[in-house]
């Protein structure tokens, strides 16, 4: 699992727990579950009886009388929340691209570098010409030292995924490995078949 996936999943689980906990708290109090089942909530439990409100006047009075530091603290907390949310949102939109890859081993002997776009275009051109492949799109992601290749292939109706993968491995990918001198990068291939009308062989 990538770091971003782990972060997203942790934060989503946290948000889910907060929502679920809040919802259940209101639900238990609203349906009077505590009394029906003879449960005694601990002291300071926020909602206990169906007549409770979420925002009691006691709460409001207590918050307003906290002293000078209360509102600056609230503002600071809101600013922090907003910044973290913004950072989280931008992390989803950003795609890391290596820019250029060192060619011929690290560090590159003569400072020779290859643009990631040039490599992906070369792989796409060769993959698109494979038999059974209608269209190929290639993207190089990650950092220069640890780049990964993502390939999306659209098959023609006559294409066979297994044979296409073997040809891809023996053709464009081995060419790329040979030409760049880089170790085999992790590669993800997504295969699709173009939808078309059924036509029967007469």
């Amino acid at each position: 699992m990538s770091p971003r996936s782990a972060l997203n999943r942790s934060l989503l689980a946290l948000a889910g727990l907060v929502l679920l906990g809040g919802g259940l708290l209101i639900f238990f109090a609203g349906l009077d579950v505590y009394r029906w089942h003879g449960l005694v909530p601990p002291a300071g439990w926020p909602l206990t009886t169906p007549a409770d409100v979420l925002l009691g006047s006691a709460d409001r009075a207590r918050w307003s009388s906290q002293g000078w530091w209360w509102w600056p603290a609230v503002i600071a907390a809101l600013v922090l929340t907003a910044l973290l949310a913004l950072w989280w949102l931008l992390a989803q939109l950003r795609r890391r691209r290596p820019g250029s890859l060192p060619v011929g081993g690290t560090p590159p002997p003569d400072g020779v570098e290859l643009r990631d776009r040039a490599l992906s275009d070369a792989i796409a051109a060769e993959a698109g010409a494979l038999p059974g492949v209608d269209d190929a799109a290639v993207r190089i992601t990650g950092r220069p030292a640890q780049h990964r290749t993502r390939i999306r292939l659209t098959l023609t109706p006559e294409g066979a995924p297994g044979a296409t993968l073997t040809a891809l491995c023996a053709g464009p990918l081995s060419t790329a490995r040979r030409c760049t001198g880089l170790p085999d990068p992790p590669t993800e291939v997504r295969l699709q078949a173009r939808r078309h009308r059924a036509h029967r062989v007469k």
């Binding site: 907060v18 044979a163 993968l165």
Partner: protein
Amino acid sequence: MTPGSTPPGRSGAPSAHPGAVPPAQATSPLAPGGPGRGHRTHRTWSPRRITAALVAAVILVAAVAALVDVIAVRAGRPAAFWRRHLADELATRPVDDVWMLTGAAVAAAVGVWLIVLALTPGRRRWLPLRSPAGCPRLRAFLDREGAAVLLRDAALRVPGVGAARVLVGRHRIKARADVRFRDPQRVKDDLTAVLGEECDQLALARPPRIVVRVRQRTD
């Protein structure tokens, strides 16, 4: 797809069986019966980018709105309408009010959904494929709709099949065919064989079960 758009290097007729591809591919390590060679691709976990972006956007909007209003009130302006309204409602509606209970139910349901999304792998649309033997770091996936299209084309090549519908699930493939001529039982046997063969061509990491149903149609 017209025959004219056939790329070079492909064996001629569009009706050719995928097994009859050029010789270099016919000796593929993924040929039928080769699941032992090449390694299996495990399902990858989706990063859940869209859900994360949505939740982040909701939190961002709520935090910024609250921030703007708190600062406005500190600066001596009256609180915004939505804040007064919200505070009023929350202060007057008891928790057994139907709106409060509805809101609580919705929040709890969304919470459960987020937890489920956080804990499950996702990417249900993509079937993992066996990687070819020469590329150990390659992971390949085929989308289920694409697999259905390829299998339907294979089913239509069986003599006697007039129409075919193929549904590709994650563990099972359901094929339904209308038989126009020939004995339905024999057509069904042929279909099962052809679909099994085509499934091998798909190189699925976990070969699914194939369920074939035929129906006689002679109108």
